[in-house]
Subunit: 194 residues, 2 copies
DNA sequence: TAGAAGTGACGGAATGTTCACTCCGCAGGA
DNA sequence: TCCTGCGGAGTGAACATTCCGTCACTTCTA
C-alpha cells in the first residue's frame, strides 16, 4: 500500500502509451512492454487483468489529461468567435505537442476497444450534458453566433480538419506553425458561424 | 488461361474486402478468408504472395473505383462553388453507399500499409500533378474563389468533416439524409471560399 | 479414337512462430 | 520464519505460410 506499487503501475502505463502509439495494439507484445517498463511480464498482470484492461486504462489517463486541457482553454467571457478560435488553436497545439497521446487516441477510437466509448461520448444524447464545456459551447449558441446545426455536424466540422492536419504534421507532410494554426482555426469558424 | 482463375481471384478480393472491413486486418485469419471466399487456404497463396500483398491489392481496387467516381462527379463548366458542393455531396453519398470500402480505406491509411501510399498521394509535391482533377480544382482557384491556402489545409477542411460524419453515420449516431449532406457541403465551402 | 501420360490448379493437414497469460520459486522486509 | 510483491521460463492457442496428394483436364501415342 506504499506508493511504490503505484509508481510501478504508472511506469507500465507510461511505457504502454509509448509502445501502443508507436507499434499499434497488435504489434505490442506484453514481453516488449515489460522490458520497456523495466518490469517482469508477470508484474503487469498484477496491476491489469489483461491486455484489454490495460488499453482501456491508458485511454482513461490520456482522455482525462486532454479533457483537462480543453476545459482550461475555454474562457466563456470571450466572444463566441474568440472562444472557438482559442479552443481549436489550443487543441492543435496540444495534440502536436503530445503526439503519443494523439496516435493512441486515433487507434483507440478506430478499434473495437473505443467504439463503445465513442458512442457514449459523442452520441446525440450527450448533447444535453451541460457539464461538458464543449457541449455547452455549441448548445448555448450565445447571441445566435452559430448556424444552428446538428451536434454531430459541429463536431465533424471542428475536429475533422484538426485531426487530418495534425496527422499530416506528424507524418512531416506539413509544418504546423502559428500562422497555419491561426488560419485553420479561422477557417473552421467560417464553417460553423451563422 | 481461361477466366476461371480470374474469377477465383476476384472472389478472394471481394471476400477480403468484406472481412477486412468488418474485422480489421489483424482479426481476419486467412483460414476465415478462405472459407468466406469458398476457396482453399492454399489457393489464396496462388494468387497473392502473402497477406500484405493481398491487402495492397484490395486497396488498389477500392481506390480505383473511388477515384473513378470522384472524377465523374466533377464538372468544370460549373461555378467553383457548385463544383465543390457537388464534389463533397457526391463523395458523402458514395462513402455512405460503400461502407465496406470506407471502413477498409480508413484502416488502410491508418496502418503501416497505407503510410507510404498516403505520403505519395497527399504530399505537397502531389499538388503539382494537374492530371488529378481534385488537385487541379484547388490549384487553379478559378476566379480567386478560394482563400489561397496550403494544399494540405484544403484537404483537411474538405475531407476531415466528411470522414467523421460518414463514420458517425455508419455507427448510427447520425442520419445522413439529403438535407444534412447539403448542409455539410455548404459548411465546408464556407471554410475554404475567399 | 481409346487410353496413357502429363500438367497445374486446388484443398487442407502440417509446421513453425508469435504471442497472451500462468505458475512457481525467489528475495527481502517484518 | 512468514508473507508479499516480483520475475521470467513455461504453456497452450492462434495464426501465416508451406507442402503434398488429388483430381480435372489436356496432350500425346498407338
Amino acid at each position: 500500500m506504499s506508493n511504490i506499487p503505484e509508481s510501478k503501475r504508472a511506469a507500465i502505463l507510461y511505457a504502454a502509451l509509448e509502445l501502443f502509439a508507436e507499434s499499434g495494439f497488435h504489434s505490442a507484445p506484453m514481453s516488449r512492454l515489460a522490458s520497456l517498463a523495466d518490469v517482469g511480464v508477470g508484474s503487469i498482470y498484477r496491476y491489469f487483468a489483461d491486455k484489454d484492461e490495460l488499453i482501456h486504462a491508458v485511454y482513461e489517463q490520456v482522455d482525462d489529461a486532454l479533457q483537462r486541457d480543453i476545459i482550461k482553454s475555454l474562457d466563456s467571457t470571450l466572444s463566441p468567435r474568440s472562444q472557438f478560435i482559442q479552443l481549436v488553436a489550443n487543441l492543435i497545439y496540444y495534440l502536436k505537442a503530445h503526439s503519443r497521446e494523439f496516435k493512441f487516441l486515433e487507434q483507440y477510437y478506430n478499434s473495437p476497444y473505443g467504439i463503445e466509448k465513442k458512442r457514449v461520448k459523442f452520441s446525440p444524447e450527450a448533447f444535453v450534458d451541460q457539464s461538458n464545456p464543449i457541449v455547452s459551447f455549441y448548445a448555448n449558441n450565445v447571441d445566435g453566433a452559430l448556424k444552428g446545426m446538428l451536434f454531430q455536424l459541429y463536431l465533424a466540422l471542428t475536429f475533422g480538419p484538426i485531426i487530418l492536419l495534425v496527422r499530416d504534421s506528424l507524418s512531416g507532410l506539413v509544418v504546423l506553425d502559428e500562422a497555419l494554426i491561426q488560419q485553420t482555426s479561422e477557417a473552421c469558424w467560417s464553417a460553423i458561424k451563422a
